[in-house]
């Protein structure tokens, strides 16, 4: 892989994960997945958390594989990998805590609702 390609690999992982999760969220809401039970949670949440986790694993794997030292030719790809990983973590953690679809239909998360 060329230097530039390695440098954008991390952000690319974020971009793909972000797009996939967002698309799945829209599709899931349209198809009523939040009403389908999959174990302890809805199918919707399972699908979202699952793809988020895949993205995190991919990001971590990339970070693992990049050499740790060697000036900017190694530094930029590493910074890119960190960017991707942190961005995936930060921008998609709401899959864990927020209400998924049309809130009036979703079961209320009582953690948030005023008593």
């Amino acid at each position: 892989m060329s230097f530039l390609a390695r440098s954008i690999a991390g952000p690319m992982i974020w971009a793909v994960t972000f797009s996939v999760v967002y698309a799945l969220h829209g599709a899931g809401c349209a198809l009523g997945w939040d009403g389908v039970v999959a174990g302890p949670v809805s199918l919707q949440r399972a699908a979202l958390v699952g793809s988020w986790a895949l993205g995190l694993i991919a990001g971590a794997a990339l970070l693992q594989r990049l050499p740790a030292s060697g000036g900017m030719r190694a530094g930029l790809p590493r910074a890119g990998a960190w960017t991707g990983l942190v961005a995936t973590l930060f921008t998609l953690f709401p899959v864990l805590v927020t209400s998924s679809c049309d809130a009036a239909r979703a079961p209320a998360i009582h953690l948030f609702t005023p008593a």
Partner: protein, 851 residues
């Protein structure tokens, strides 16, 4: 010398760092020789045939300043209207046109062209080359910008300017609610201007990747180049969604194909997604070049080097990506579920991190050095104060609940001006103060610039600081009167008064520029004692920038490097062959690979832009049939354009430095043109992806689905789609056969076969459209099928044109030996056309080939 030995020479002699210096010559003799090859033609002809990046960069910036003045006058009209609750003097229709035009002019006719102009002017000088990769494209971009802008301005003068706000939300901008020509002016005019953005983006990318001075590694190139690389890639990916959206809306308005109309299966939210998919990155497209200027200016003003080069580059990469994941923050109130909002809220918040990294790197640079308060530094301080506040209100707006309150109020108006004026206008003023001596060769007249700065700073904050409160007190944007809200009067009146102060400041600033260019005393060669190749030349810069090109060991530039370069000690000295020659280097290695010959002065770009203009005007006047001759003219001129690149004879290799002889670009496949084609296909691919997003979005989200049954014959449909894909696939094979037969000059037959295959594909497509596809005005699904087919058809048509061009070249004997003619470009295009056709065909089949 045979081709083999040329290749060997390029491979061995060029290792960076071991290029010998050329013997010095008389600088004046070199200058005369170069100027004959590079200068614009004399007189007015020179103005319309110029392709020089120096001329065009300056012209871009000057034109952008004129549009800034027009936009500023409109802003003053807005402020005058809002100064009192009854508004008094503008009626609502005119007011709506004025704020729409203010926003559109500032974004599309001022900010973007301004940054393009700066990049076009500066980049070759900073990178150590003589011009951009595609000089005629620079000129084409300029004319498209000028003509598109003029259309908008004439519409304003004629009272038929766009009036739906700068983001043109449907259905308000649709045919039912905006029946006049106003919305068409926006859609067609802005898209016309966008051609220049794409042209500039392609050029800038290629120039940065391939025309850096030998030895200037990516990891060591000036930060401004990194910023512009990020910007131009963002433009390649960011503009296509807007272009697609504009085309779709124009088709809906002109021909009634529904994409955004709910009753027939469209969705107004599709417009919003596509618009903001462009619109948010746009803000960063505007900010990054400004930040590039800051990263250049701050270290010089503090007599030190930039702190955290690597961190800043990483921040640029992060910004380029993250800024594509924020667009929904403009749509927090459209009724999207909270989780999806949360993704975009988090991304919008996160994007502040790379921005903070840069801001603190700049502050660290200032700590490291000794800041000197020259005029550019005043504007840098204005930037810090204003932009930090704008960034903080940006974070507030990224917080969903707060956004629900502040959205569409004057709070947002305040925020966006803090960001745009703080993050773009102040840095640009710093850049102007910094580079004016470089541009004009003159020093400024003391005092005026500082007065202008203070007037602008005070005027700006006086106008916009209290406007946050105006918004929080409930004043929505885009209203012309507020008779029932006396509590907003003092706020608005204050804003208006200071608005006029700010205008006086900008007038002083403009006066300062004019006086400096006209009356300023001679500037010393290195007024700031800055490093950088942009100062390693005579001031004002000669038409060719460098008499000989800087190489390893001369890259720190500064004025000390100027003399040796002017005497021809660098690479590729003079223009002994009377041609415009530049060096092309490897993307990663920065080693010189070959010499590219650039085209000279020509009026062709003007003609082509004029032909496109005729097309636009015919669309505007509703004379749709007359667009066809205009398109034919466009195609013919493009053919002529391409002929200008063809070369019938072998060009001898060129001695670049003692012991280093390089081939000329016609003997290479990895030409600048090829890199440019890759960039263009990146943009084209994004457009296609945006179209696929539209198909997916409407199929899943829109109401009014499922659509009515298809009525075409399914077997015929499937057959024709198969024929279409097969035809394009055969083209893919043909072009490869052509490349294989290139050496012995046997490309005639493959090219003919390729032409035939593409024509067969086109025939299948025409048949499909005529006999199988349903009336596109029936439902959004059918309209999208029509657009997919049209997209494939256009690409097949161009592929056929390229095959025909190759056939013509092969017949003339221009494809032989090491010369591949247009075959590499055709191969890229044919592959792309085939792949997109395959995808589009699969979608058509999945929707059902017929009834």
């Amino acid at each position: 010398m045979t081709d083999a030995t040329i290749g060997a020479a390029a491979g061995t002699g060029a290792a960076a760092g071991e290029i010998a210096a050329n013997a010095p010559q008389r600088a004046l003799g070199l200058h005369r020789e170069l100027d004959r090859a590079w200068a614009n033609a004399p007189g007015w002809r020179g103005q319309i045939t110029a392709v020089s990046h120096t001329t065009l960069g300056l012209r871009f910036m000057a034109t952008a300043l004129v549009f800034f003045a027009i936009g500023g006058i409109l802003a003053m009209l807005i402020r005058a209207q809002l100064a009192t609750p009854e508004g008094a003097f503008l009626d609502t229709e005119i007011y709506n046109q004025i704020f729409t035009m203010h926003g559109s002019i500032m974004m599309f006719l001022f900010a973007i062209p301004m940054l393009e102009g700066l990049a076009i002017y500066m980049l070759p000088k900073i990178l150590g080359t003589r011009d951009l990769a595609f000089p005629r494209l620079t000129a084409l971009g300029y004319w498209c910008y000028l003509f598109g802008g003029l259309i908008l301005i004439f519409a304003l003068l004629g009272g038929v300017a766009p009036h739906d706000g700068w983001f043109m939300y449907t259905p308000l901008s649709g045919a039912n609610y905006s029946p006049g020509v106003n919305a068409d002016v926006w859609l067609l005019g802005v898209t016309f201007v966008e051609i220049s953005a794409l042209a500039a983006a392609v050029e800038i990318t290629v120039t940065i990747l391939r025309q850096r001075a030998p030895g200037m590694k990516l990891t060591e190139m000036p930060l401004f180049a990194w910023y512009m690389l990020g910007t131009s890639v963002m433009m390649l990916v960011g503009f296509p969604p807007l272009i697609l959206a504009s085309v779709l809306l124009e088709i809906e308005r002109a021909f009634g194909w529904p994409f955004f109309e709910v009753a027939r299966g469209g969705d107004p939210l599709l417009w919003q997604h596509l618009f903001w998919l462009f619109g948010h990155p746009e803000v960063y497209i505007i900010f990054l070049p400004a930040a590039g200027a800051l990263s250049t200016i701050i270290p010089v003003m503090c007599r030190t080097t930039i702190l955290g080069y690597g961190a800043i580059v990483a921040a640029i990469v992060a910004l380029v990506f993250l800024s594509f994941g924020l667009w929904v923050h403009h749509m927090f109130t459209v009724g999207i579920p909270h989780m999806a909002l949360a993704f975009f809220s988090a991304a919008s918040v996160l994007v502040a991190v790379p921005t903070a990294v840069q801001v603190f790197a700049w502050i660290g640079t200032m700590w490291k050095g000794r800041p000197e308060m020259h005029l550019p530094m005043y504007h840098v301080m204005g930037f810090f104060l204003t932009f930090v506040m704008g960034g903080l209100t940006g974070v507030m707006l990224a917080i969903v609940p707060f956004n629900w309150q502040a959205h569409d109020t004057h709070f947002v108006v305040a925020h966006l001006h803090y960001v745009l004026i703080g993050g773009f206008v102040f840095p640009m003023m710093a850049a102007a103060a910094y580079w004016m001596p470089q541009i004009t060769g003159r020093a400024r007249i003391k005092g005026l610039g500082e007065t202008a700065f203070w007037t602008i700073l005070i005027g700006f904050h006086g106008t916009f600081f209290l406007m946050h409160l105006t918004g929080l007190m409930g004043m929505p944007r885009r209203i012309d009167v507020y008779p029932d809200n006396p509590e907003w009067i003092w706020l608005n009146l204050t804003s208006s008064l200071f608005g006029f102060v700010m205008t006086i400041g900008f007038a002083l600033f403009a006066l300062d520029l004019v006086l400096q260019a006209w009356l300023g005393p001679r500037s010393p060669r290195d007024p700031w004692r800055a490093p950088g190749l942009d100062w390693a030349m005579r001031l004002p810069p000669p038409s060719y920038n460098f008499a000989s090109l800087p190489g390893p060991g001369r890259l720190d530039g500064g004025a000390q490097a100027a003399q040796g370069l002017a005497r021809g000690e660098g690479l590729l000295p003079g223009a002994p062959r009377g041609r415009r020659e530049v060096l092309v280097t490897g993307v990663g290695s920065a080693r010189p690979e070959f010499v590219a010959i650039l085209p000279g002065n020509t009026a062709l770009p003007l003609g082509l832009a004029g032909a496109i203009g005729v097309f636009v005007l015919m669309m505007l006047s509703g004379l749709y049939w007359l667009t066809l001759p205009a398109l034919a003219l466009v195609a013919a001129l493009i053919w002529v354009w391409a002929r200008g690149m063809a070369r019938g004879r072998d060009a001898a290799p060129v001695e670049v430095a003692p012991g280093l002889t390089l081939p000329v670009h016609t003997h290479r496949q990895d030409t600048l043109g090829r890199t440019g084609a890759v960039c263009l296909l990146l943009a084209d691919g994004t457009l296609f992806a945006a179209l696929l997003f539209g198909v997916g979005f409407l199929s899943v989200v829109a109401l009014g689905w499922p659509p009515p049954e298809l009525t075409g014959d399914p077997e015929l449909g499937a057959g024709l789609i198969a024929g279409l894909v097969a035809g394009l696939g055969l083209g893919v094979v043909a072009v490869r056969l052509g490349l294989r037969a290139q050496g012995r000059g046997g490309a005639v037959l493959p090219a003919a076969a390729g032409l035939l295959a593409n024509l067969v594909a086109l025939a299948c497509l025409g048949w499909l459209a005529a006999a199988v596809l349903d009336d596109p005005t029936r439902h959004a699904r059918d309209a999208l099928r029509g657009v997919l087919t049209g997209y494939v058809g256009l690409h097949a048509l161009i592929a056929a044109g390229m095959a025909a061009f190759a056939l013509d070249q092969a017949r003339r004997g221009e494809i032989v030996g090491a010369r591949a003619g247009c075959l590499p470009a055709w191969r890229l295009w044919q592959d792309f056309a085939a792949v997109t056709a395959l995808i589009a065909g699969a979608i058509l089949l999945a929707q059902g080939a017929g009834g």
